[in-house]
Amino acid sequence: MTSVGTDVDRVDGPEKTTGRARYSADRVLPDMAYAHVVLSTIGKGRIRAMNTDAAAGAPGVLRVYTPFQPLKLYPPPPGYGETYAVLQDRDIRFRGQVIGLVVARTFEQAREAAALVTTEYDAQQPSTSLAAGSPGVTAPDQGQGAPPAKFAVLAPGVTSIDQALAASEVTVQGTYTQGSQHHVAMEPHATVAVWQDGHLTAYCGAQMPQVHAVSLAAQLGVEADRVRVLSPYVGGAFGSRVATWPDIALASAAALDLDRPVKLVLAREQVFTMVGHRPAVSQTVRLGASADGVLNAVSHKSDVAMPMPTVGSWVMVPAQDTSGALYKTPNLAIDQRVVPLDMPPTWAMRGPNEAPGGFAIETAMDELAVSLRMDPLRLRLRNYATTAAGTGRPWSSKHLRECYETGAERFGWSSRPRSGTVDGQWLVGTGMATAIYPAARFPAAVRVRFRDDGTAVVASATADIGTGAVTLLSICGSDALGIPLSRVEPRLGDSALPPGAPAVGSAGAGSTAPVIRSAAQAAITALIDLAVTHPDSPFYGMTADQVRYHDGYLDAGAGRSMGFARLLKLTGTAGVEATANGGPGPEAGQYAFHSFGAHFCEVRGNRFTGEPRVSRFTTVVDIGTVVNAQATRSQIVGSVIFGIGHALLEVDPLEDSGRLAAGNLGDYLVPVNADIPDIDVHWLDIPDTVYSPFGARGVGELATVGSAAAIGNAIHDATGIRVRDLPITLDKLLG
């Protein structure tokens, strides 16, 4: 009767589709004031003067904060986001930085007044060119067990990767570039902050509510236990709600200063510069192989644009979990660099290293297949890895070969149209690529509580960023307790709950599911303990091993069975609960952990005007146990759509002035329905019990990796044109 692995509708679906779900910006509190930010309009320099008189005198305005009349704020703890605090100095680090906050009685008044603030600057020329700054400096160390940003594994007797390449019978080399990209989650960043008795409650979108609370407390200079972050509904994140951006602390500090709740909802344009984005990156991949396609050398270098150290960011390392793990090769060299620029903050975005990295290596593999005149699928099978090239470790579980085979069959790879097939006005081509994504496991705590109304609460301070995590709590709770989904009450998105797994790295489900099982087991033990020790219990006096729990009942055989609700009522107990902790064990140091997949697609390019359109897509993945089939399909479809955007549409050029030129949803193009074909999705559902006893590795990001390469490879197949600079727009295909 378990629903694990079946199609389960979201338990919060009706709330979301009927508008009853209250997202952060939907909160309306008594006496609430509204804030609007003022952003810098130069790319680098210093504020000379600001005139806030008109704004301060505008109708409804309560206060105008600037570096001249600041709110006291501190930088977030190192690694939690930016390295500075807004409003504390007059430096302009990037264009679109917060330089003011206007708080008024209504949203309209705050916005109107914000437009009345004028600023004089001493401007400097920002440095904005990734190409001019390349090659950059070796990326900072990722710490804790992460491979170094630069390393090489060479075969005995080989002295350098260049030597290995030179000794290869066939080599290909390509430089792959892409500009800035944005998460553009549907919900713009929004905060409602309210203080009571020296304690702050902040309603805001958070991928890790507790980390948000810690960071926010540090920015406000208060103890962490005085801050509670509530994030029950999140309108998408994709990495944009891992760090706290200045909006949350600004709203919270203003609420304290004005002694009333404050709401701050960023305008869409403001999200583009205030929230870290995926930076531009240039990657060079060199492959050396024998004439029959056996890899001898893989070299992957990257230069990533980075607003370090003045702004701060997360460090992109695109090669290590792609080229570092995908193929068997005796010689491997990885060299990941950063180029410091004056630009808005950058951050991890869905498939943060692997989506860009996968585009580079999987395009290069296609270039190798073309130059070998070899089926690109055969080339990949020929170089199939059974240990990770970078670390030499075996995988906890790897069924990529089945992904290739199943995908090829579903797509009809062997009977695909020949290169350069023409269908009316359209050139038709096919392409494929591999998906890979590291399977991290994080420590997590889960509390399970039996209640006397027959329901059970499953609670953990993880987040549901639109992925279906709250439904996962229900499914796993129902599975572990043997009660229907409707009798499980899932709770997350609250920093006051037991420390949950972060909703990052596709690891929320994988980290939480096994701990729900342990917590359920612990709660069952506590329930049996109550049953045998409470004098009002019919099981009183028995030993614990005489009472079994199954499907919501305690059972001592011979017809002595009772539902837990009745037991709790008889004993006058409101609830029985237990909290369990779980996390990676010693296996973490012995195995490589990745999820895998194979993409196959067909693309049509117009033979007159060039525009490429994806017409068919098949993705098969190996992610371990599947918890919710419906949510899994949605994640994979969504990831492929990310790949379509990555390949064909998404870019925000950084101008010489430091201005992001497409910082709005009119100019920053994400795929619309018409861009998306039917996406055929399949998974293998083979449990990875080395990763965790539950066996589920997670699926959120995997299919964003390689999907763009599959599309680019199909475009090459259709048109004969290899585009190495994303997005692949029609002007690059006019020939």
């Binding site: 109107e112 006005q425 030129a661 329905n673 018409a674 727009t729 029609l730 002007d731 006019l734």
Partner: protein, 324 residues
Amino acid sequence: MHAYDFAAPRSIRSAIDRAGGESAYLAGGTTLVDLMKLEVMTPSRVVDINRLPLKGIRVDGNGLRLGALERMSDVARHPGVRSRYPVVAQALELSASQQLRNMASMGGNLLQRTRCGYFRDTSTPCNKRLPGSGCAALTGENRTHAILGTSDSCVATHPSDVAVALVALDAQVELYGPHGRRSLPLGDFYRLPGNTPHLENHLLPRELITGITVPSLSWARHSGYLKVRDRQSYEFALTSAAVALDVSGGVVREARVAVGGVGTRPWRLPAVEQALVGRRTTEAAYEQAVAHAADGARPLAHNAFKPELLRRTLVRALTTVGEL
């Protein structure tokens, strides 16, 4: 957005009386409200014209007449428009989104403002928004900008799709102002930017567009609109072409051709129309006819592909319509 006065008169006369100074008429609001939020348009008074009797779609022997307040979606759906002027219906259906077309009016469409990112961002110079402040697009991101009819002051395209179709069909705009009625060919209604890019058309202060007329053209049944863009839907044109062909015996007798996405106003190509006359309806013949379509183009750093794309857009549109 600033506070503003609001009026919703019931007659054309009183609408004109209420207008003046820094006022703006409000139809569907899909351009006006958007630009007010961005502080690009800052009227002190908004005169809502939605109660005015400016509706009606008429298709008869004289041609087509569209009231200025007809919604894009209603025009696109009209059976007479679809069968006799497919180029108009297609241009509309390839515009914006269904939701926007349900709000947006035909009059407002003709007066929509450019999508140039610098025009829409008050923190950058723009001669169209703030005369004399300069043009950031000349040296900035200009992949989507115009190559025809540009000046050193402005390289912004006129974004309307349906205006391109209407210009190809010799449409007229009917106007009503303080000094009475008049009408102008739509092709002459728009101005080139020159060094006054803030003056976009010949509408007089307080004047209203009341309707659009298209003269009867029997072979407009053989017409079509092609829109080329990065995204399959919900995006403005990189290039577009409105084409109508009068073909008999595999030979073009007459043609109408106008293009969008490339000009500072909807761009009619009379030389291409002439060059098509007498040619066979083959791809090779079309290629010859459009060879000079982009003559005089002034490409910028990021849109150097547009002249070639324009020619190919035309060949594709002609091929498609020629096969009808």
